[in-house]
Subunit: 366 residues, 2 copies
């Protein structure tokens, strides 16, 4: 249905790198730009992903730091990126750290601005923001910088926090003016499972509850996904996004040991709730998200499920269920959907539909 799509990846931590990898298995999606905090790789005929992945191994997300100036709309008072890193890089390869170790890359002090310049100048179809979002307005502000520069393509992110959607909505007029199509929360949850909930709701005229329960085993991927783990810790009782951001790697390790590598989450502030509400499926309050993360094993500690309970037009109450096979990794369930939603976003964008859209709005209407 779509012609070839070119895309840029902003951030080459766990999610960015896996998206590049998954895109190699997909027809018609070509990565042309990738960056990390120190460098940018550009090839408008398509990046050599294998070479780049080798070079970027070890760019753990919690260690990324983007220091180039934020756009006019930046209200954080910092310079456009996470202000702490709280960790040290591991598994760095090559003489230089990260992307710059690639033969395709150049060093830069302003990776975000460089990506913006490249995507605007070359008309790159889509940008995947695979950046840690340990400050709520970081992703919204980066998106704003794209709009500000007149980028009229698609921006996709895999953010998680409900309150970030509001910050995107505040910028929607600006995105629309630029002709930009922002698909937000397009990873696993929110993302894949939000879409599944919206689809499962189609049996019903009234949705009572949506229960999302995820399992992630991350032993072999732990080093790559420290940024994700840090974001998850912020959902634990007694922690919030500020305290999690300020933790040192040693403190996080101590917490991991204390929990024997296993964290159970309930009533998480995952954007599935507001994304289902904005699609008209149910009230945000009817959505609950929880799950179990185990960084000491690769097997999922629990099966990922979405249960949608509702009432049919003929007055019956029932529960539709979507269940992911236990052998599907978090990475598979984030990056496949991110590219899938990106494809739909590009179609919408080419049809002139700009603005902010959640995954559930890309499903059949409710």
């Amino acid at each position: 249905m779509t012609d070839d799509i070119t895309f840029a990846v902003l951030g080459t931590g766990g999610i960015g790198r896996r998206t590049l990898e998954v895109s190699q298995h997909k027809d018609g999606v070509t990565p042309v730009v990738a960056c990390d905090r120190n460098g940018i790789a550009v090839d408008h005929d398509g990046l050599d992903v294998d070479e780049l992945l080798d070079a970027t191994e070890g760019n753990i997300a919690s260690e990324e730091r983007y220091d180039d100036k934020a756009g006019a709309g930046d209200t954080t008072g910092n310079d456009g990126g996470p202000v702490t890193d709280g960790g040290t890089a591991v598994k760095q390869h090559g003489e230089d750290a990260g992307v710059v170790a690639s033969a395709q890359a150049e060093p830069t002090d302003s990776p975000i601005q460089d990506v913006i310049d490249e995507t605007v100048a070359e008309g790159v179809d889509a940008v995947l923001l695979a950046l840690p979002n340990l400050e709520h307005d970081f992703i919204p502000n980066v998106a704003e910088r794209f709009a500000d520069a007149g980028y009229d393509g698609v921006v996709v992110d895999v953010l998680k926090r409900s309150r970030v959607i509001e910050l995107l909505d505040e910028r929607e007029a600006m995105f629309r003016d630029a002709g930009m199509t922002f698909v937000c929360g397009a990873g696993a949850t929110p993302g894949f499972l939000t879409g599944a909930a919206a689809l499962a709701a189609q049996s019903f005229v009234d949705v009572e509850s949506v229960d999302i329960w995820w399992g992630v085993g991350l032993k072999s991927g732990y080093e790559d996904n420290r940024g994700t783990v840090r974001e998850d810790i912020a959902h634990l009782d007694g922690y919030d996004i500020e305290t999690a951001r300020e933790m040192t790697e040693a403190e996080i390790e101590a917490l991991v040991d204390e929990h024997d590598g296993r964290f159970e989450f309930h009533d998480m502030e995952h954007a599935d709730d507001v994304l289902l509400e904005r699609a008209g499926v149910c009230d945000a309050a009817d959505v609950s998200v929880g799950g179990v993360l185990d960084v000491h094993q690769d097997e999922k500690p629990t099966t990922t499920t979405v249960e949608v309970t509702g009432t049919t037009f003929d007055g019956e109450t029932a529960t539709n269920t979507f269940e992911l096979g236990d052998a599907t990794s978090m990475e598979a369930n984030v990056n496949g959907p991110a590219l899938g939603y990106m494809r739909r976003g590009v179609e919408m964008n080419r049809d002139g539909r700009a603005g902010v859209f959640g995954p559930a709005e890309l499903m059949p209407g409710f």
Copy 2:
């Protein structure tokens, strides 16, 4: 995301009537035209659905016969409708049969043409074709008549047969020229379950198999759904669409008794296969559809499930599963999705995207 949508229902058998009923539970979808073989009801401010439903109770699908002239593209040699009925109406109410018993309706000899005229003249957003399709080219030819008349809205159908998609594809250029957006196979299966399969595939880079298995209990809805049952019988070993069409109601009753009301189907020619292939999810040959129909009980004889087995980018094989609650009726699972896909179709149409689209093409891209 969408503004109010007006729609017409062509056919007020089981599916047409239930769609009208479900639409009453939905915001922003307003039925404005409905017809059956003898009459047409029009109210561009919104039909009084309750009144119409009372009036049309008993319009069983196998008894419907549309005799108005087919359009220029009609190659069937008949007059635009099923040539046999093979049954007698039951539960007819009112002085006149069907829609004409409604205070909102007028009798007509050319219901399809009248709906075309109304929808074109008034710019009705969408048309649901809830007609039996016991001849493969009936639905395609009706759609062609809309395009021929310059209808530039959305046409949705709930057809089942794989080979019909080809007939629609042959007409795609004509639909595009008219600016018409045709969403085909948008009921339960194909439709709801096809979409679920396309979404479930997002974990994988390669899909090995899609297994759709449905259960339908139809005791209380049997009279309303004789057309559907007749279409299902055509999938049994030893039957085809021609033999099923020629059967009398008495012959069908005898077959039902012989099976004690219960039919099991395997390797059905359901369009899920070609619709998943055209969305790039897998080869049509990798899709299997089967199920159990019981017309002697309302409880589902088996649980409706979709199993998608594939390989992830990291080399794991797994199965994702979508399961419908047993209390969701066939009617709920056909009509909710039909309206849901209609909403998305209207968005696409308003964005200028015309042509033929299956449910899987309205999902995140694969």
